[in-house]
Assembly symmetry: C2
Homo-oligomer: 223 residues x 2
DNA sequence: TAGATTGTTAATCGATTAACAATC
DNA sequence: TAGATTGTTAATCGATTAACAATC
């Protein structure tokens, strides 16, 4: 009785997937794809783990989340595994995205073609600079900020990529969310405040750099 | 007796710092700096935690790693705290770095000025393309691959930033390590193999995207 | 003094790793 | 069959959160 909510949609709401698992899955995918497996050929957790410097049990646990089942002794059918990971991550049905802030980083992301294989299609850039608006970046239009809302609505865009300076990130985010965006991939070094239910994924170079420089300094001091 | 090694340099080798803590410290720093505290004015964990959406106890624990001590009731002296974090991360003594691969992303990183405040000074770019070599990116020279080794040796460069395509990342990494680099900030989507003691920090957009797209798909399905 | 906040020790939580039966 | 590998249950490890004494 007390957990009737949970019971009701037990199948819809499986145990939550650990973020570390989600973060490792693309690595498996990339490895598998790069190996060009023939249809029917198999691959074991041991092999994957060794190639990526992980524990095989960890790979096995991670793969289990995608719902794939392997066979004792032989492992997983490689092409099935690739499909299972892609389906699980939702990378087989692409979402359109709009990128805000066509500076150096914005241009780099606009012209990177790899995202489409990862479920993300950045359809256009947005910038308030007139000069920038005249650019086409890798065939992608750059539109003025004033036209962003209506484009989001018209194309039912669900993802905003934010590469504006820190000072304007919150305003841009608010605008995008108001227009209907459900997820924000944030490259600006600020904490964005969003309404309940809106997803924010921060890309935090400073955090990585902190880990790198601390380790390096410890290592240099030790020697 | 059995742990004599540990005892000998007990002060040199404090408990290891959790990576999650290291990754949060830059966020505190950025917040504190943005607030322009007057000398002597204080700030409490509660305030920091609230601004960043964290638990105050977590902030307190994180700050303790930097060695700073606060005062009950008042908190930490803000400017002391800023200095403590910067010193702890080593962001007060900058390391020179060399960036390999002056494509869109490489150019974006080369022209970003913020890294210097984070202990990283990218002194030049390296690219094998003749046309690219003629570019100066934001006043930074782009040198041919053949000159990279000697530059690393001459300037005692310890950090390589790798933004080359996946297919050449390992070769570039090997070369940089052979020339004396101790840490690699890797933006290429490959697992780099390095000798014992060399630090690799992977910047993994695909991993972030996996978290984002899974959350978004779950959220869209739910509604 | 009273109340807020630190610093520290203990409890909880979640992820990783280990163990092992099942099985192809 | 024998051996390798999966899938699952249990143990360990580490990070987060809670509790609380110390103190300004």
């Amino acid at each position: 009785m007390e957990n009737s909510e949970k019971d009701m949609n037990a199948e819809e709401q499986p145990r939550a997937i650990p973020a570390p698992t989600l973060r490792r899955l693309p690595g498996y995918l990339q490895l598998l794809k790069s190996r060009g497996y023939a249809p029917g050929s198999t691959v074991s957790c041991t092999v994957i783990a060794q190639a990526l410097g992980l524990q095989s049990i960890q790979v096995r646990k991670d793969l289990a989340y995608t719902g794939i089942t392997g066979r004792p002794k032989t492992g997983y059918v490689a092409l099935e595994l690739i499909k299972a990971i892609e389906d699980f991550l939702g990378w087989n049905n692409t979402h359109d995205a709009l990128l805000f802030g066509v500076g150096q980083l914005g241009r780099a992301l606009l012209s990177y073609n790899g995202f489409r294989a990862q479920g993300l299609d950045i359809v256009a850039g947005v910038d308030c600079d007139n000069a920038v608006q005249r650019l086409d970046v890798h065939g992608k239009k750059v539109i003025p900020l004033s036209k962003a809302s209506s484009l989001i609505r018209r194309l039912h865009i669900k993802i905003a990529v934010i590469t504006v300076p820190a000072s304007s990130a919150q305003a841009v985010c608010d605008m995008a969310v108001a227009a209907g965006v459900k997820a924000v991939w944030n490259f600006a070094p600020v904490q964005l405040n969003v309404p309940e239910g809106i997803i924010v994924q921060n890309e935090n170079l400073a955090a990585s750099l902190a880990v790198l420089s601390k380790k390096l300094n410890l290592s240099l001091k030790a020697s």
